[in-house]
Amino acid sequence: GSSGTKVALVPGGPHPYFAAWEKAGKDAVKDFGLGKADYKVPAEWDLSQQNELIESLVGKGYNAVLVFPGDAVGTNKILGELDDAGIPTAALAGCVEQPTKAKMCFGTDTGHSAYLGTKQLIKAMGGKGKIAHFTGFLVDPNTTLRINAVEKAVAEAGGGVEIIQVIADIDAYEPADEKINAFMAAQGGEVDGIVTTAWVPAVVASQALTNMGDKRIKMVGIDHDEVVLKAIKEGYVHGTMLQNPYGQGYIGSYVMDKIRGGCVFKANAPWKSTAQTDQFIDSGTVFVDITDVDTYVDAMRGISLDILKTFDGTYLDC
Protein backbone atom coordinates (compact mmCIF):
# COMPACT_ATOMS: atom_id res chain seq x y z
CA GLY A 1 0.00 0.00 0.00
CA SER A 2 1.02 3.64 -0.35
CA SER A 3 1.61 5.90 2.64
CA GLY A 4 0.18 8.70 0.50
CA THR A 5 -3.27 7.29 0.89
CA LYS A 6 -5.34 9.16 3.46
CA VAL A 7 -8.72 7.47 3.84
CA ALA A 8 -11.61 9.02 5.78
CA LEU A 9 -14.36 6.71 7.02
CA VAL A 10 -17.45 8.87 7.48
CA PRO A 11 -20.60 7.42 9.08
CA GLY A 12 -24.01 9.10 8.80
CA GLY A 13 -23.70 10.41 12.32
CA PRO A 14 -22.88 9.27 15.84
CA HIS A 15 -24.18 5.67 15.98
CA PRO A 16 -23.00 2.46 17.65
CA TYR A 17 -23.32 0.52 14.40
CA PHE A 18 -20.18 2.12 13.00
CA ALA A 19 -18.02 1.72 16.09
CA ALA A 20 -16.09 -1.14 14.44
CA TRP A 21 -14.93 1.14 11.62
CA GLU A 22 -12.41 2.86 13.88
CA LYS A 23 -10.44 -0.31 14.64
CA ALA A 24 -10.93 -1.53 11.09
CA GLY A 25 -9.29 1.64 9.80
CA LYS A 26 -6.35 1.38 12.20
CA ASP A 27 -5.81 -2.27 11.32
CA ALA A 28 -5.94 -1.40 7.63
CA VAL A 29 -3.20 1.21 8.14
CA LYS A 30 -1.13 -1.39 9.97
CA ASP A 31 -1.72 -4.31 7.62
CA PHE A 32 -1.67 -2.49 4.26
CA GLY A 33 0.69 0.35 5.17
CA LEU A 34 -1.71 3.18 4.34
CA GLY A 35 -0.94 6.75 5.33
CA LYS A 36 -4.15 7.19 7.27
CA ALA A 37 -7.55 5.57 7.63
CA ASP A 38 -9.44 7.66 10.16
CA TYR A 39 -12.95 7.32 11.49
CA LYS A 40 -14.54 10.78 11.27
CA VAL A 41 -18.00 11.29 12.78
CA PRO A 42 -20.35 14.16 11.86
CA ALA A 43 -21.51 16.11 14.90
CA GLU A 44 -25.11 15.23 14.15
CA TRP A 45 -27.07 12.72 12.10
CA ASP A 46 -27.82 15.24 9.39
CA LEU A 47 -26.98 15.28 5.69
CA SER A 48 -25.65 18.84 5.62
CA GLN A 49 -23.50 18.21 8.70
CA GLN A 50 -22.04 15.17 6.94
CA ASN A 51 -21.35 17.21 3.81
CA GLU A 52 -19.70 19.95 5.88
CA LEU A 53 -17.48 17.35 7.55
CA ILE A 54 -16.48 15.70 4.28
CA GLU A 55 -15.65 19.06 2.73
CA SER A 56 -13.50 20.04 5.70
CA LEU A 57 -11.76 16.65 5.57
CA VAL A 58 -10.84 17.23 1.93
CA GLY A 59 -9.66 20.64 2.98
CA LYS A 60 -7.38 18.85 5.42
CA GLY A 61 -5.94 16.65 2.71
CA TYR A 62 -7.78 13.36 2.94
CA ASN A 63 -7.72 11.88 -0.54
CA ALA A 64 -10.13 8.96 -0.32
CA VAL A 65 -13.55 8.89 1.31
CA LEU A 66 -15.66 5.96 2.48
CA VAL A 67 -19.07 7.23 3.43
CA PHE A 68 -22.31 5.87 4.79
CA PRO A 69 -24.69 7.94 2.66
CA GLY A 70 -26.57 10.49 4.75
CA ASP A 71 -29.11 10.18 1.98
CA ALA A 72 -29.12 7.57 -0.78
CA VAL A 73 -29.78 10.28 -3.36
CA GLY A 74 -28.62 13.45 -1.66
CA THR A 75 -25.07 12.26 -1.03
CA ASN A 76 -24.37 11.80 -4.74
CA LYS A 77 -23.75 15.45 -5.47
CA ILE A 78 -20.83 15.73 -3.08
CA LEU A 79 -19.41 12.40 -4.23
CA GLY A 80 -19.49 13.82 -7.73
CA GLU A 81 -17.64 16.94 -6.59
CA LEU A 82 -15.02 14.84 -4.82
CA ASP A 83 -14.60 12.80 -7.99
CA ASP A 84 -13.99 16.02 -9.95
CA ALA A 85 -11.33 16.88 -7.38
CA GLY A 86 -9.75 13.49 -8.17
CA ILE A 87 -10.76 11.92 -4.88
CA PRO A 88 -12.09 8.35 -5.09
CA THR A 89 -15.13 7.56 -2.97
CA ALA A 90 -17.26 4.56 -2.14
CA ALA A 91 -20.55 4.03 -0.36
CA LEU A 92 -20.02 1.91 2.73
CA ALA A 93 -22.62 -0.17 4.62
CA GLY A 94 -25.45 1.41 2.61
CA CYS A 95 -25.66 2.36 -1.04
CA VAL A 96 -26.22 5.55 -2.99
CA GLU A 97 -28.60 5.40 -5.90
CA GLN A 98 -27.25 5.42 -9.43
CA PRO A 99 -26.24 7.45 -11.37
CA THR A 100 -23.33 7.98 -9.01
CA LYS A 101 -19.60 8.71 -8.99
CA ALA A 102 -19.06 6.31 -6.08
CA LYS A 103 -16.61 3.59 -7.18
CA MET A 104 -18.71 0.90 -5.52
CA CYS A 105 -21.27 0.19 -2.86
CA PHE A 106 -19.70 -2.13 -0.35
CA GLY A 107 -22.14 -3.19 2.32
CA THR A 108 -25.62 -4.51 2.71
CA ASP A 109 -28.50 -4.50 0.25
CA THR A 110 -30.97 -3.09 2.73
CA GLY A 111 -33.97 -4.22 0.73
CA HIS A 112 -32.66 -7.73 0.24
CA SER A 113 -31.65 -8.03 3.91
CA ALA A 114 -35.19 -7.11 4.94
CA TYR A 115 -36.49 -9.65 2.42
CA LEU A 116 -34.29 -12.43 3.80
CA GLY A 117 -35.19 -11.52 7.35
CA THR A 118 -38.89 -11.74 6.60
CA LYS A 119 -38.35 -15.08 4.84
CA GLN A 120 -36.66 -16.39 7.97
CA LEU A 121 -39.51 -15.08 10.11
CA ILE A 122 -42.15 -16.71 7.94
CA LYS A 123 -40.23 -19.98 8.08
CA ALA A 124 -40.10 -19.73 11.87
CA MET A 125 -43.84 -19.02 11.93
CA GLY A 126 -44.46 -22.19 9.97
CA GLY A 127 -45.47 -20.39 6.80
CA LYS A 128 -48.60 -18.75 8.15
CA GLY A 129 -49.78 -16.06 10.55
CA LYS A 130 -50.01 -12.33 11.06
CA ILE A 131 -46.86 -10.22 11.11
CA ALA A 132 -46.04 -6.63 12.00
CA HIS A 133 -43.23 -4.53 10.57
CA PHE A 134 -41.40 -1.87 12.61
CA THR A 135 -39.05 0.42 10.71
CA GLY A 136 -37.32 3.79 10.64
CA PHE A 137 -37.89 7.21 9.11
CA LEU A 138 -40.13 7.18 6.05
CA VAL A 139 -38.06 9.94 4.48
CA ASP A 140 -35.09 7.56 4.28
CA PRO A 141 -35.36 5.96 0.82
CA ASN A 142 -34.15 2.69 2.35
CA THR A 143 -37.30 2.55 4.48
CA THR A 144 -39.49 2.36 1.40
CA LEU A 145 -37.24 -0.40 0.01
CA ARG A 146 -37.60 -2.33 3.25
CA ILE A 147 -41.36 -1.96 3.38
CA ASN A 148 -41.63 -3.22 -0.20
CA ALA A 149 -39.17 -6.06 0.46
CA VAL A 150 -41.18 -7.28 3.44
CA GLU A 151 -44.36 -7.15 1.37
CA LYS A 152 -42.61 -9.11 -1.41
CA ALA A 153 -41.54 -11.85 0.99
CA VAL A 154 -45.04 -12.03 2.44
CA ALA A 155 -46.60 -12.18 -0.99
CA GLU A 156 -44.32 -15.08 -1.93
CA ALA A 157 -45.45 -16.94 1.18
CA GLY A 158 -48.88 -17.26 -0.39
CA GLY A 159 -52.13 -16.50 1.41
CA GLY A 160 -50.98 -17.84 4.77
CA VAL A 161 -49.19 -14.73 5.90
CA GLU A 162 -50.51 -11.19 6.19
CA ILE A 163 -49.03 -7.89 7.38
CA ILE A 164 -51.41 -6.48 9.97
CA GLN A 165 -49.49 -3.30 10.76
CA VAL A 166 -46.50 -1.22 9.73
CA ILE A 167 -45.14 1.26 12.25
CA ALA A 168 -42.55 3.71 10.89
CA ASP A 169 -40.74 6.89 11.94
CA ILE A 170 -39.55 5.35 15.21
CA ASP A 171 -35.83 5.99 15.20
CA ALA A 172 -35.80 7.56 18.67
CA TYR A 173 -36.07 5.36 21.75
CA GLU A 174 -38.84 7.06 23.72
CA PRO A 175 -41.40 7.20 20.90
CA ALA A 176 -40.40 3.72 19.80
CA ASP A 177 -41.01 2.38 23.30
CA GLU A 178 -44.37 4.13 23.43
CA LYS A 179 -45.57 3.01 19.99
CA ILE A 180 -44.30 -0.57 20.09
CA ASN A 181 -45.78 -1.22 23.51
CA ALA A 182 -49.03 0.38 22.46
CA PHE A 183 -49.01 -2.05 19.55
CA MET A 184 -48.36 -4.99 21.87
CA ALA A 185 -51.28 -3.85 24.01
CA ALA A 186 -53.63 -3.60 21.06
CA GLN A 187 -52.45 -6.42 18.80
CA GLY A 188 -50.23 -8.54 21.09
CA GLY A 189 -52.84 -11.29 21.06
CA GLU A 190 -53.26 -11.56 17.30
CA VAL A 191 -49.78 -10.99 15.95
CA ASP A 192 -47.60 -14.05 15.41
CA GLY A 193 -44.44 -12.48 14.05
CA ILE A 194 -42.53 -9.22 14.10
CA VAL A 195 -39.88 -8.09 11.65
CA THR A 196 -37.87 -4.99 12.46
CA THR A 197 -35.73 -3.32 9.82
CA ALA A 198 -34.12 -0.49 11.78
CA TRP A 199 -31.76 -0.39 14.73
CA VAL A 200 -33.92 1.32 17.37
CA PRO A 201 -37.15 -0.60 16.70
CA ALA A 202 -35.15 -3.83 16.84
CA VAL A 203 -33.75 -2.97 20.26
CA VAL A 204 -37.04 -1.75 21.70
CA ALA A 205 -39.10 -4.62 20.30
CA SER A 206 -36.65 -7.19 21.66
CA GLN A 207 -36.83 -5.41 25.00
CA ALA A 208 -40.64 -5.42 24.91
CA LEU A 209 -40.86 -9.14 24.12
CA THR A 210 -38.35 -9.90 26.87
CA ASN A 211 -40.34 -7.86 29.38
CA MET A 212 -43.58 -9.54 28.34
CA GLY A 213 -41.82 -12.88 28.66
CA ASP A 214 -43.52 -13.79 25.40
CA LYS A 215 -41.94 -16.56 23.35
CA ARG A 216 -45.01 -17.19 21.22
CA ILE A 217 -44.48 -14.14 19.04
CA LYS A 218 -41.55 -14.78 16.72
CA MET A 219 -39.32 -11.84 15.91
CA VAL A 220 -36.50 -11.24 13.48
CA GLY A 221 -34.45 -8.16 14.21
CA ILE A 222 -31.61 -6.33 12.52
CA ASP A 223 -28.01 -5.58 13.48
CA HIS A 224 -26.00 -6.49 16.51
CA ASP A 225 -27.15 -4.42 19.48
CA GLU A 226 -26.44 -6.35 22.69
CA VAL A 227 -30.10 -6.20 23.69
CA VAL A 228 -31.08 -8.03 20.51
CA LEU A 229 -28.34 -10.63 20.81
CA LYS A 230 -29.21 -11.24 24.46
CA ALA A 231 -32.88 -11.65 23.59
CA ILE A 232 -31.88 -14.20 20.94
CA LYS A 233 -29.81 -16.15 23.45
CA GLU A 234 -32.73 -16.12 25.88
CA GLY A 235 -35.10 -17.22 23.14
CA TYR A 236 -37.40 -14.21 23.10
CA VAL A 237 -36.19 -13.21 19.65
CA HIS A 238 -35.87 -15.71 16.84
CA GLY A 239 -32.92 -14.15 15.08
CA THR A 240 -31.38 -11.08 13.51
CA MET A 241 -29.95 -9.94 10.17
CA LEU A 242 -26.31 -9.15 10.78
CA GLN A 243 -23.94 -7.03 8.76
CA ASN A 244 -20.19 -6.82 8.76
CA PRO A 245 -19.13 -3.31 9.81
CA TYR A 246 -15.54 -4.29 10.63
CA GLY A 247 -15.09 -5.93 7.25
CA GLN A 248 -16.60 -2.93 5.53
CA GLY A 249 -14.10 -0.55 7.11
CA TYR A 250 -11.12 -2.89 6.72
CA ILE A 251 -11.63 -3.98 3.12
CA GLY A 252 -13.07 -0.59 2.10
CA SER A 253 -9.85 1.15 3.16
CA TYR A 254 -7.82 -1.46 1.31
CA VAL A 255 -9.77 -0.97 -1.91
CA MET A 256 -9.49 2.82 -1.73
CA ASP A 257 -5.72 2.45 -1.53
CA LYS A 258 -5.69 0.12 -4.52
CA ILE A 259 -7.75 2.55 -6.59
CA ARG A 260 -5.49 5.45 -5.66
CA GLY A 261 -2.65 3.16 -6.69
CA GLY A 262 -4.14 3.15 -10.19
CA CYS A 263 -6.25 0.01 -10.10
CA VAL A 264 -9.64 0.15 -11.80
CA PHE A 265 -12.64 -2.15 -11.51
CA LYS A 266 -12.78 -4.89 -14.12
CA ALA A 267 -15.22 -4.20 -16.92
CA ASN A 268 -16.65 -7.66 -16.32
CA ALA A 269 -16.50 -7.51 -12.54
CA PRO A 270 -19.15 -9.82 -11.02
CA TRP A 271 -21.17 -6.97 -9.54
CA LYS A 272 -24.37 -7.77 -7.71
CA SER A 273 -27.15 -5.32 -8.42
CA THR A 274 -29.75 -3.94 -6.03
CA ALA A 275 -32.75 -1.67 -6.27
CA GLN A 276 -30.35 1.24 -5.92
CA THR A 277 -27.18 0.32 -7.78
CA ASP A 278 -25.61 -2.33 -9.96
CA GLN A 279 -22.13 -1.83 -8.58
CA PHE A 280 -22.85 -3.61 -5.33
CA ILE A 281 -20.54 -5.90 -3.38
CA ASP A 282 -22.02 -7.71 -0.42
CA SER A 283 -19.83 -7.17 2.64
CA GLY A 284 -21.50 -10.16 4.24
CA THR A 285 -25.14 -10.18 5.29
CA VAL A 286 -26.03 -13.20 7.40
CA PHE A 287 -29.00 -14.37 9.42
CA VAL A 288 -28.05 -15.35 12.95
CA ASP A 289 -30.21 -17.22 15.41
CA ILE A 290 -29.75 -18.96 18.73
CA THR A 291 -27.57 -21.66 17.17
CA ASP A 292 -24.80 -19.39 15.93
CA VAL A 293 -25.29 -16.16 17.89
CA ASP A 294 -22.20 -16.88 19.98
CA THR A 295 -19.95 -17.64 17.04
CA TYR A 296 -21.01 -15.04 14.51
CA VAL A 297 -17.98 -12.83 15.13
CA ASP A 298 -15.57 -15.48 13.83
CA ALA A 299 -17.96 -16.22 10.99
CA MET A 300 -17.82 -12.56 10.00
CA ARG A 301 -14.03 -12.49 10.21
CA GLY A 302 -13.99 -15.52 7.98
CA ILE A 303 -16.22 -13.83 5.42
CA SER A 304 -14.04 -10.71 5.48
CA LEU A 305 -10.89 -12.70 4.83
CA ASP A 306 -12.50 -14.59 1.95
CA ILE A 307 -13.64 -11.35 0.32
CA LEU A 308 -10.19 -9.82 0.81
CA LYS A 309 -8.33 -12.87 -0.57
CA THR A 310 -10.29 -12.93 -3.78
CA PHE A 311 -10.94 -9.21 -4.17
CA ASP A 312 -8.09 -8.20 -6.47
CA GLY A 313 -8.61 -11.20 -8.67
CA THR A 314 -12.32 -10.85 -9.01
CA TYR A 315 -12.85 -7.09 -9.16
CA LEU A 316 -9.68 -5.18 -9.96
CA ASP A 317 -7.39 -4.55 -12.90
CA CYS A 318 -4.06 -3.26 -11.61
Binding site: L47, S48, G59, G61, D71, V73, K77
Partner: protein, 328 residues
Protein backbone atom coordinates in the same frame (compact mmCIF):
# COMPACT_ATOMS: atom_id res chain seq x y z
CA UNK B 1 -25.11 67.27 24.53
CA UNK B 2 -23.17 64.03 24.73
CA UNK B 3 -19.80 62.99 23.36
CA UNK B 4 -20.50 59.75 21.46
CA UNK B 5 -18.48 56.90 20.06
CA UNK B 6 -19.36 56.47 16.38
CA UNK B 7 -22.88 55.09 16.29
CA UNK B 8 -22.10 51.79 14.60
CA UNK B 9 -19.89 50.77 17.53
CA UNK B 10 -22.98 50.45 19.70
CA UNK B 11 -24.53 47.88 17.45
CA UNK B 12 -24.65 44.20 18.15
CA UNK B 13 -23.62 43.66 14.51
CA UNK B 14 -20.33 45.45 15.08
CA UNK B 15 -19.59 43.22 18.07
CA UNK B 16 -20.39 40.10 16.08
CA UNK B 17 -18.28 41.35 13.21
CA UNK B 18 -15.25 41.70 15.47
CA UNK B 19 -15.81 38.23 16.91
CA UNK B 20 -16.10 36.75 13.43
CA UNK B 21 -12.82 38.42 12.46
CA UNK B 22 -11.17 37.06 15.60
CA UNK B 23 -12.24 33.51 14.79
CA UNK B 24 -11.13 33.83 11.18
CA UNK B 25 -7.69 34.87 12.39
CA UNK B 26 -7.50 32.10 14.97
CA UNK B 27 -8.61 29.33 12.62
CA UNK B 28 -6.54 30.41 9.66
CA UNK B 29 -3.46 30.49 11.86
CA UNK B 30 -3.89 27.23 13.78
CA UNK B 31 -5.51 24.98 11.18
CA UNK B 32 -4.28 23.78 7.84
CA UNK B 33 -6.71 24.11 4.97
CA UNK B 34 -9.01 26.70 6.53
CA UNK B 35 -8.05 29.25 3.91
CA UNK B 36 -7.79 26.68 1.13
CA UNK B 37 -9.88 27.60 -1.90
CA UNK B 38 -11.90 24.40 -1.53
CA UNK B 39 -12.73 25.11 2.10
CA UNK B 40 -13.67 28.75 1.59
CA UNK B 41 -15.88 27.78 -1.32
CA UNK B 42 -17.55 25.08 0.78
CA UNK B 43 -18.00 27.57 3.61
CA UNK B 44 -19.58 30.16 1.34
CA UNK B 45 -22.11 27.58 0.23
CA UNK B 46 -23.03 26.38 3.72
CA UNK B 47 -23.20 29.92 5.08
CA UNK B 48 -25.45 31.00 2.23
CA UNK B 49 -28.10 28.45 3.11
CA UNK B 50 -27.86 29.02 6.88
CA UNK B 51 -28.27 32.76 6.38
CA UNK B 52 -31.39 32.20 4.34
CA UNK B 53 -32.85 29.82 6.93
CA UNK B 54 -31.99 32.29 9.68
CA UNK B 55 -33.73 35.15 7.87
CA UNK B 56 -36.80 32.99 7.32
CA UNK B 57 -37.09 32.37 11.05
CA UNK B 58 -36.20 35.95 11.93
CA UNK B 59 -39.24 37.45 10.24
CA UNK B 60 -41.57 35.30 12.35
CA UNK B 61 -39.63 35.88 15.56
CA UNK B 62 -40.30 39.53 14.75
CA UNK B 63 -43.97 38.93 15.58
CA UNK B 64 -43.00 37.43 18.92
CA UNK B 65 -43.82 34.01 17.49
CA UNK B 66 -41.93 31.02 16.15
CA UNK B 67 -42.13 29.03 12.94
CA UNK B 68 -41.41 25.39 13.76
CA UNK B 69 -42.84 24.43 10.37
CA UNK B 70 -40.05 26.25 8.56
CA UNK B 71 -38.13 23.09 7.67
CA UNK B 72 -41.30 21.29 6.66
CA UNK B 73 -42.28 24.21 4.42
CA UNK B 74 -38.82 24.15 2.88
CA UNK B 75 -38.98 20.45 2.09
CA UNK B 76 -42.54 20.69 0.77
CA UNK B 77 -41.55 23.57 -1.51
CA UNK B 78 -38.49 21.69 -2.73
CA UNK B 79 -40.38 18.46 -3.38
CA UNK B 80 -43.13 20.44 -5.12
CA UNK B 81 -40.47 22.03 -7.28
CA UNK B 82 -39.00 18.62 -8.02
CA UNK B 83 -42.44 17.43 -9.09
CA UNK B 84 -42.95 20.50 -11.29
CA UNK B 85 -39.61 20.16 -13.05
CA UNK B 86 -39.28 16.37 -13.24
CA UNK B 87 -42.83 15.05 -13.48
CA UNK B 88 -44.62 17.99 -15.09
CA UNK B 89 -41.61 19.07 -17.13
CA UNK B 90 -42.20 22.73 -16.33
CA UNK B 91 -39.13 24.82 -17.24
CA UNK B 92 -36.81 26.03 -14.52
CA UNK B 93 -37.77 29.70 -14.22
CA UNK B 94 -41.54 29.19 -13.93
CA UNK B 95 -40.91 26.29 -11.59
CA UNK B 96 -38.89 28.54 -9.30
CA UNK B 97 -41.82 30.96 -9.11
CA UNK B 98 -44.15 28.04 -8.35
CA UNK B 99 -41.81 26.90 -5.54
CA UNK B 100 -41.70 30.38 -4.03
CA UNK B 101 -45.48 30.56 -4.38
CA UNK B 102 -45.85 27.26 -2.57
CA UNK B 103 -43.60 28.41 0.26
CA UNK B 104 -45.50 31.66 0.69
CA UNK B 105 -48.81 29.82 0.56
CA UNK B 106 -47.87 27.39 3.33
CA UNK B 107 -46.62 30.34 5.37
CA UNK B 108 -49.88 32.13 4.67
CA UNK B 109 -51.82 29.19 6.12
CA UNK B 110 -49.72 29.36 9.31
CA UNK B 111 -50.36 33.08 9.51
CA UNK B 112 -54.10 32.86 9.02
CA UNK B 113 -54.58 30.07 11.56
CA UNK B 114 -52.44 31.91 14.13
CA UNK B 115 -54.24 35.20 13.66
CA UNK B 116 -57.78 33.89 13.41
CA UNK B 117 -57.61 31.48 16.34
CA UNK B 118 -55.29 33.49 18.57
CA UNK B 119 -53.46 30.24 19.35
CA UNK B 120 -49.72 30.85 19.79
CA UNK B 121 -47.80 30.32 16.56
CA UNK B 122 -45.58 27.85 18.42
CA UNK B 123 -48.37 25.31 18.73
CA UNK B 124 -49.91 26.16 15.35
CA UNK B 125 -46.66 25.63 13.48
CA UNK B 126 -45.90 22.56 15.57
CA UNK B 127 -49.10 21.07 14.19
CA UNK B 128 -48.72 22.32 10.63
CA UNK B 129 -45.16 20.99 10.67
CA UNK B 130 -46.58 17.49 11.10
CA UNK B 131 -49.34 18.11 8.59
CA UNK B 132 -47.20 19.64 5.84
CA UNK B 133 -44.48 17.05 6.25
CA UNK B 134 -47.00 14.22 6.48
CA UNK B 135 -48.75 15.34 3.30
CA UNK B 136 -45.40 15.60 1.56
CA UNK B 137 -44.31 12.06 2.51
CA UNK B 138 -47.75 10.72 1.65
CA UNK B 139 -47.93 12.33 -1.78
CA UNK B 140 -44.33 11.61 -2.78
CA UNK B 141 -44.15 8.31 -0.87
CA UNK B 142 -40.73 9.66 0.12
CA UNK B 143 -39.49 9.26 -3.46
CA UNK B 144 -36.76 11.75 -4.31
CA UNK B 145 -36.78 13.81 -7.51
CA UNK B 146 -33.27 13.48 -8.81
CA UNK B 147 -33.57 14.02 -12.57
CA UNK B 148 -33.79 17.76 -12.30
CA UNK B 149 -32.67 19.97 -15.22
CA UNK B 150 -28.89 20.32 -15.24
CA UNK B 151 -29.22 24.09 -15.68
CA UNK B 152 -30.90 24.05 -12.26
CA UNK B 153 -28.67 21.66 -10.34
CA UNK B 154 -25.38 22.93 -11.75
CA UNK B 155 -26.10 26.33 -10.30
CA UNK B 156 -25.19 24.91 -6.90
CA UNK B 157 -21.70 24.01 -8.11
CA UNK B 158 -20.79 27.19 -9.99
CA UNK B 159 -17.65 28.79 -8.59
CA UNK B 160 -17.17 32.58 -8.73
CA UNK B 161 -14.28 34.97 -7.92
CA UNK B 162 -11.63 32.54 -9.11
CA UNK B 163 -13.38 29.61 -7.54
CA UNK B 164 -13.64 31.05 -4.02
CA UNK B 165 -17.34 31.88 -3.75
CA UNK B 166 -20.60 30.12 -4.50
CA UNK B 167 -23.32 32.09 -6.28
CA UNK B 168 -25.65 30.94 -3.49
CA UNK B 169 -23.88 33.38 -1.19
CA UNK B 170 -24.63 36.19 -3.62
CA UNK B 171 -28.31 35.29 -3.41
CA UNK B 172 -28.27 35.33 0.39
CA UNK B 173 -26.45 38.66 0.55
CA UNK B 174 -28.95 40.10 -1.91
CA UNK B 175 -31.75 38.80 0.28
CA UNK B 176 -30.17 40.50 3.29
CA UNK B 177 -29.90 43.81 1.45
CA UNK B 178 -33.50 43.55 0.27
CA UNK B 179 -34.79 42.78 3.76
CA UNK B 180 -32.65 45.56 5.20
CA UNK B 181 -34.25 47.94 2.73
CA UNK B 182 -37.71 46.58 3.58
CA UNK B 183 -37.36 47.04 7.32
CA UNK B 184 -35.38 50.26 7.30
CA UNK B 185 -36.71 52.19 4.32
CA UNK B 186 -40.31 51.21 3.72
CA UNK B 187 -43.51 51.95 5.59
CA UNK B 188 -44.65 48.33 5.41
CA UNK B 189 -41.39 47.16 7.00
CA UNK B 190 -41.71 49.67 9.81
CA UNK B 191 -45.31 48.58 10.34
CA UNK B 192 -44.24 44.95 10.58
CA UNK B 193 -41.77 45.86 13.32
CA UNK B 194 -44.24 48.07 15.18
CA UNK B 195 -46.93 45.38 15.07
CA UNK B 196 -44.47 42.87 16.49
CA UNK B 197 -43.30 45.19 19.25
CA UNK B 198 -46.67 46.18 20.72
CA UNK B 199 -49.74 44.91 18.86
CA UNK B 200 -52.18 46.98 20.94
CA UNK B 201 -50.40 50.26 20.35
CA UNK B 202 -49.85 49.46 16.68
CA UNK B 203 -53.52 48.56 16.19
CA UNK B 204 -54.65 51.80 17.84
CA UNK B 205 -52.24 53.71 15.63
CA UNK B 206 -54.06 52.50 12.55
CA UNK B 207 -51.91 49.50 11.66
CA UNK B 208 -53.79 46.31 10.82
CA UNK B 209 -51.78 43.99 13.05
CA UNK B 210 -53.36 40.76 11.81
CA UNK B 211 -52.45 41.54 8.22
CA UNK B 212 -48.89 42.35 9.28
CA UNK B 213 -48.55 39.05 11.13
CA UNK B 214 -49.86 37.13 8.12
CA UNK B 215 -47.32 38.96 5.94
CA UNK B 216 -44.54 37.89 8.31
CA UNK B 217 -45.54 34.23 8.08
CA UNK B 218 -45.81 34.47 4.30
CA UNK B 219 -42.41 36.11 4.06
CA UNK B 220 -41.03 33.35 6.27
CA UNK B 221 -42.48 30.71 3.98
CA UNK B 222 -41.12 32.56 0.96
CA UNK B 223 -37.59 32.78 2.35
CA UNK B 224 -37.86 29.15 3.47
CA UNK B 225 -38.64 28.25 -0.12
CA UNK B 226 -35.62 30.22 -1.34
CA UNK B 227 -33.44 28.32 1.12
CA UNK B 228 -35.01 25.09 -0.12
CA UNK B 229 -34.18 25.97 -3.74
CA UNK B 230 -30.60 26.74 -2.78
CA UNK B 231 -30.29 23.48 -0.85
CA UNK B 232 -31.79 21.55 -3.77
CA UNK B 233 -29.27 22.95 -6.23
CA UNK B 234 -26.57 22.16 -3.70
CA UNK B 235 -27.74 18.55 -3.17
CA UNK B 236 -28.58 18.16 -6.84
CA UNK B 237 -31.94 16.61 -6.09
CA UNK B 238 -35.15 17.27 -4.22
CA UNK B 239 -35.08 14.73 -1.40
CA UNK B 240 -37.59 14.39 1.43
CA UNK B 241 -34.84 14.04 4.01
CA UNK B 242 -33.02 17.23 3.06
CA UNK B 243 -34.07 18.88 6.31
CA UNK B 244 -34.26 15.73 8.40
CA UNK B 245 -37.31 14.22 10.05
CA UNK B 246 -40.17 16.77 9.98
CA UNK B 247 -37.64 19.31 8.68
CA UNK B 248 -36.35 19.77 12.20
CA UNK B 249 -32.68 19.81 11.20
CA UNK B 250 -33.31 23.37 10.07
CA UNK B 251 -34.53 24.55 13.45
CA UNK B 252 -31.20 24.95 15.25
CA UNK B 253 -29.48 27.02 12.55
CA UNK B 254 -32.76 28.85 12.08
CA UNK B 255 -32.80 30.00 15.71
CA UNK B 256 -29.07 30.37 16.27
CA UNK B 257 -28.48 32.94 13.56
CA UNK B 258 -31.16 35.53 14.39
CA UNK B 259 -30.95 35.15 18.14
CA UNK B 260 -27.17 35.54 18.21
CA UNK B 261 -27.70 38.37 15.73
CA UNK B 262 -29.68 40.30 18.30
CA UNK B 263 -33.25 39.63 17.22
CA UNK B 264 -35.56 39.92 20.20
CA UNK B 265 -37.51 36.70 20.89
CA UNK B 266 -40.39 38.68 22.35
CA UNK B 267 -40.70 40.41 18.99
CA UNK B 268 -40.46 43.92 17.66
CA UNK B 269 -36.70 44.13 17.28
CA UNK B 270 -34.60 42.50 14.57
CA UNK B 271 -31.26 42.82 12.88
CA UNK B 272 -30.86 41.57 9.32
CA UNK B 273 -27.08 41.82 9.23
CA UNK B 274 -26.88 40.50 12.77
CA UNK B 275 -28.63 37.38 11.52
CA UNK B 276 -26.18 37.16 8.64
CA UNK B 277 -23.20 37.48 10.96
CA UNK B 278 -24.77 35.00 13.37
CA UNK B 279 -25.01 32.42 10.62
CA UNK B 280 -21.45 33.13 9.50
CA UNK B 281 -20.15 32.81 13.06
CA UNK B 282 -21.80 29.44 13.71
CA UNK B 283 -20.66 27.99 10.37
CA UNK B 284 -17.14 29.27 10.94
CA UNK B 285 -16.94 27.65 14.34
CA UNK B 286 -18.25 24.29 13.15
CA UNK B 287 -15.93 24.28 10.17
CA UNK B 288 -12.98 25.37 12.31
CA UNK B 289 -13.68 22.61 14.82
CA UNK B 290 -13.83 20.00 12.08
CA UNK B 291 -10.42 21.24 10.91
CA UNK B 292 -8.80 21.28 14.34
CA UNK B 293 -8.75 17.72 15.60
CA UNK B 294 -10.75 18.15 18.80
CA UNK B 295 -11.36 14.42 18.95
CA UNK B 296 -14.16 12.62 17.25
CA UNK B 297 -17.13 13.11 19.49
CA UNK B 298 -16.22 16.37 21.22
CA UNK B 299 -17.14 18.74 18.40
CA UNK B 300 -20.57 19.62 19.79
CA UNK B 301 -19.05 20.25 23.19
CA UNK B 302 -16.56 22.77 21.88
CA UNK B 303 -19.14 24.31 19.58
CA UNK B 304 -21.24 25.00 22.66
CA UNK B 305 -18.34 26.39 24.67
CA UNK B 306 -17.22 28.71 21.88
CA UNK B 307 -20.78 29.86 21.25
CA UNK B 308 -21.04 30.73 24.92
CA UNK B 309 -17.76 32.63 24.88
CA UNK B 310 -18.78 34.45 21.71
CA UNK B 311 -22.12 35.72 23.04
CA UNK B 312 -20.61 36.68 26.38
CA UNK B 313 -17.79 38.57 24.65
CA UNK B 314 -20.37 40.45 22.66
CA UNK B 315 -22.33 41.27 25.81
CA UNK B 316 -19.28 42.66 27.58
CA UNK B 317 -18.58 44.86 24.54
CA UNK B 318 -22.13 46.18 24.87
CA UNK B 319 -21.60 47.07 28.53
CA UNK B 320 -18.32 48.75 27.68
CA UNK B 321 -19.74 50.89 24.91
CA UNK B 322 -22.76 51.93 26.99
CA UNK B 323 -20.52 52.93 29.91
CA UNK B 324 -18.21 54.93 27.69
CA UNK B 325 -20.93 57.43 26.79
CA UNK B 326 -19.68 60.48 28.64
CA UNK B 327 -22.31 62.97 29.70
CA UNK B 328 -21.05 66.53 29.27
Amino acid sequence: MTKKLPNFMFTNQFGLFCIVIIFVIIFSSITDGFTSRFNIYALSRVVAIDIMIGLAMMVVILTGGLNLALGAIGVCAAMFGGWCMETMGIPVIPSIFLILGMGSFLGYINGVITVKTGVHSFIVTLATMSIYFGLMTMLTEAEAFRRLPASFTDFGSIKLFNKYVSPLLIISVTACLTLFYLFKFTDIGRKLIAAGANPDAAELSGISVNTMFIYCHMLSGFLGAVAAIMLTTRIGAAIPSMAGQLGMDWLLPAFLAPVIGGTLLSGGKLSVFGTMLGAILVTLITNGLYLIDVGEFWIRFFLGIILLIAVILDKTREHFTLKSVIVS
